[in-house]
């Protein structure tokens, strides 16, 4: 962990992203899908929706930090709701 000053929180952050990528790769191999068009009227696959979720979550976290400024873990709750919405409707 001394190498490049890694810390557990950052390690967990990257491990969860890597984990998500692996899970979605396995899903893509096991259950191939055709892209669908959702409320944004763009064609998306599961991978696209994951990307939209992760990028949006980053902005939700920053927004929470900038506007609310406290109880940061609650931002993750908003992210989960957002993720659900993206995977359901986008």
């Amino acid at each position: 962990m001394d190498w490049m000053a890694w810390t557990w929180p950052t390690a967990i952050f990257f491990l969860s992203i890597a984990g998500l990528l692996i899970i979605f790769s396995i899903l893509a191999i096991k259950f191939p899908e055709t892209p669908r068009t959702g409320i944004l009227r763009i064609e998306t696959t599961r991978g696209d929706r994951l990307f939209i979720t992760l990028l949006g979550s980053a902005f939700i976290n920053l927004g929470w930090l900038g506007i609310v400024g406290a109880h940061q873990p609650y931002a993750l709750l908003v992210c989960l709701i957002y993720a659900f919405a993206v995977f359901r409707w986008v």
């Binding site: 490049m4 810390t7 950052t10 990028l55 902005f59 920053l62 930090l65 900038g66």
Partner: protein
Amino acid sequence: MQEKTVNQKAWFLVLPVLVLVAFSAVIPLMTVVNYSVQDTFGGNQFFWAGLEWFDDLLHSERMWNALGRQLAFSAIILAIEVPLGILVALSMPKSGFWASFCLVVMSLPLLIPWNVVGTIWQIFGRVDIGLLGHTLDKLGIPYNYTQDFISAWATVIVMDVWHWTSLVALLAYAGLQSIPDAYYQAAKIDQASRWKVFRYIELPKMAGVLMIAILLRFMDSFMIYTEPFVVTGGGPGNATTFLSIDLVKMALGQFDLGPAAAFSIMYFLVILLISWVFYTVMTNLDRREGK
């Protein structure tokens, strides 16, 4: 009929690229994320800072001002370069010697390195020895890019327009060249006006390349560093301190690695979001055109 065997081993051929990208992009990016939540006083000693830097930056006037200037700069140069580029492309000859001549002349500014462009304009705009600065001064127009905010902005904008309009023009020209003559003949039969030919034939046919031009120009202007740094150094005051100039000041000038890393991540997220929007619009345009 014999069933085709599926062999996924070819994926291993992608490995060298993955390793290369890991070392050139992924690991450095991870390091930035890692630094953004820590503080250092040098000597490779790091201390946990949590979200402090992000919190500071989100409430820092300096960052918002730099972002505002950056967006204004990108918006202004796009508003000038795109219409101007289209206009230039429309007035270029379609074939023959002059077409090739124009293409070569148009591509010249693109070949000049950024810092040289900066130096050219830095000298060109000087009141004592520069042609532009001296002429304006003699005409009685107050112009001094080292002291006057409007002069500094005008210089960096005109410099960018001079440097990059050709790119938009060349891309638009390529789009125009791909329109078959039959379209123009049909327009002539229908007695369409010049404006209608542009609006309903040329513009839709150029839409794809124009999106690429806008994306390239937006990204490049959003990350601009060298030219304004050479000409104005971010001044006068902070008037032309765009995001990357501010970031370099923070990271290398003040050696505030933590805040600079947090700044980089936010900068990266904005660029990622805008690129994604452009990319999505572009691929959807292509799909609609049935490419």
